[in-house]
Symmetry: C2
Amino acid sequence: MLSFEILSQDQRARTGLLVTPHGAIETPSFVAVGTQATVKALSVADLHKVGSQVIIANTYHLHLQPGEELIEKMGGLHRFMGWDAPLITDSGGFQIFSHGAGKEHGVGKIAPIFPEEQDRARHLSSRKQKPLVKVNEDGVEFISYLDGSRHQFTPEGVIAMERKLGADIILVLDECTSPLHDYDYTKTAMERTHRWAVRALEEFLHHSDNKQALFGIVQGGAFQDLRKESATFTAEKAFDGYAIGGSLGGSTEEMHQVLEWTIPLLPQDRPRHLLGIGEIENIFEVVKRGIDLFDCAAPTRMARTGTMFVRDADRFRIHILNAQFRDDPRPVDQACDCYVCSNYSRAYLRHLFAAKELAAFRLASIHNIHFLESLMRRIRTAIKEERLSHLESNWFSPK
Amino acid sequence: MLSFEILSQDQRARTGLLVTPHGAIETPSFVAVGTQATVKALSVADLHKVGSQVIIANTYHLHLQPGEELIEKMGGLHRFMGWDAPLITDSGGFQIFSHGAGKEHGVGKIAPIFPEEQDRARHLSSRKQKPLVKVNEDGVEFISYLDGSRHQFTPEGVIAMERKLGADIILVLDECTSPLHDYDYTKTAMERTHRWAVRALEEFLHHSDNKQALFGIVQGGAFQDLRKESATFTAEKAFDGYAIGGSLGGSTEEMHQVLEWTIPLLPQDRPRHLLGIGEIENIFEVVKRGIDLFDCAAPTRMARTGTMFVRDADRFRIHILNAQFRDDPRPVDQACDCYVCSNYSRAYLRHLFAAKELAAFRLASIHNIHFLESLMRRIRTAIKEERLSHLESNWFSPK
């Protein structure tokens, strides 16, 4: 069971309290990505300390390794990973995309389009004996990237797996199309995703013990009529919340367009989750359009390459391996009060990355998530005080 | 400055309090290995939590990267790495060995001798254009493993570097011979190490500000007369403490012999550090012979391969990737109260290692060091209560 209460509004942005059986989430909230039942390089104690409220794990990855049966036997995903707080499982739709069309097309969800890379990807893909992923009406067949074994995901099967995992919020199986799919394919895939959504909801309601909540997923690529059709269709179904998935076009501007088309058609009183988006530059734009939850692997992925968030730098980030930080005694970010900024200099962090020391990955991840969660706290306060646009302009022009 | 007070004795084992400018160490104590100014995969907060009292870093590695000048500029090694507790720097003698004769001979400090491996190592080494390491009377020349640059370490130069690093306890430059070096070479190297020790001590006393303590190093391989000669020679010099270094023979039994020959000749009232030894099986034997400090990279190195300490298993360790732990809901060690054993199952840790997740390395390292530090606390208590042999027999025959 899920309750969602909207506490304040500032234009279309809103704060809310999303209550799950494992605790409440103050929204809008960043959702930490814990694909394989761990947020990379961090412990659950680290996540509590940096202020993370909710983790999203992945049914596709956990099915392949270690398997949902094992996790159920170990007491469910919360207990398995030691996270006694809200938990979401994604369905695997995006992974089917990224190992399928995304790989063939050489693109991500928002794909700045580099023709050479796509040609290379198409070339590589054309040499493959068989595709890794096959989608049909029943569901999707795919080959494990781990051991080459064959697997089938159906809308009903994924709900059953997610029930075994036991997250508080679970997502329906969808087909996530690529920015390079044309209108016709995107429409066909969207309509199939809608039929899958109905099957998933039926399966979910049939066995529901009221401990889990089910979110539908809006598809339709970057096509206005498809997004509106998908939002209307999904909104009419009795989901506990609504995710926005799939291709979000070729640019940040197109992504904003997709949100403009979609969000007004979703129920006002239900939570909205933007899947796989959350670069530090996007957050204000997304929250201003009424998003309550968003997950993104970039903060931790960037951390592992030495890219760390700072307030007063180009695109809010520095690359700690740059020579200029070699003898820089300052913390990564002057105003940050995280464990890393309270204890270590840029010079030391640069040394850890240069020396390829494991501690580097964790420390950089702690800083990046703490930085992001601090921003979210400020955003929530600003919405409550109806001064979000003030915070935004202040944020983008630091003194 | 260093003060050392012996608090209790049980046969030849003893507890003591070693007071440094950055705090006191209760001895006998494990010394965590922080070669590159970090104990691999851990933060200093982790180390405080598991009960680590002292870290040993390495002058050789820190000279090559990031350089002692930089560390001095950043406020010294304590401040650079955020460790406001006792700190030792090793001189680099062992690294000169391991990149030189150790590599050529294909052996470590205690070398179970596998003839094939040595043949292979000799073969590889004979194909090299030039040796990585050249030892002469003045000191040692070597080529950086990082960038091929040439470096020279002299006894005086190493003291100057260690002064810049600023550890509480520093070690003289020695030549660490291989278990495969013959009597004549071992004697020649030992005599040179003695001359270096005199030079290092002179350099140290010339500039000493009384904030650092200098330890001499006993050499002599696994040869009784050489070890006795080296212990006698070193003991006569005004060192603040005494380390036992170099080759310790071809077996644990030979290592015990070396301790039997050496320790009775060292001053009773000064601390004794056994360099590079501390496998869980060795600890009682070493402490019983009067060792006060020992450092060993094995607990953290084993952790990173998934080998974790447990009380009731063969050789006190399990390999967590073994299939039997796949669905094992128990903590790694039943009696352990570390963060890992309090929060995670063997099944989860196995999953993290199987999925190659970064968190695995840290969690396993936390457990192994906590396990070892708990054993050390029990050993210190047992010595105070004069029941060390009782604890030992109990430890080796768990119910």
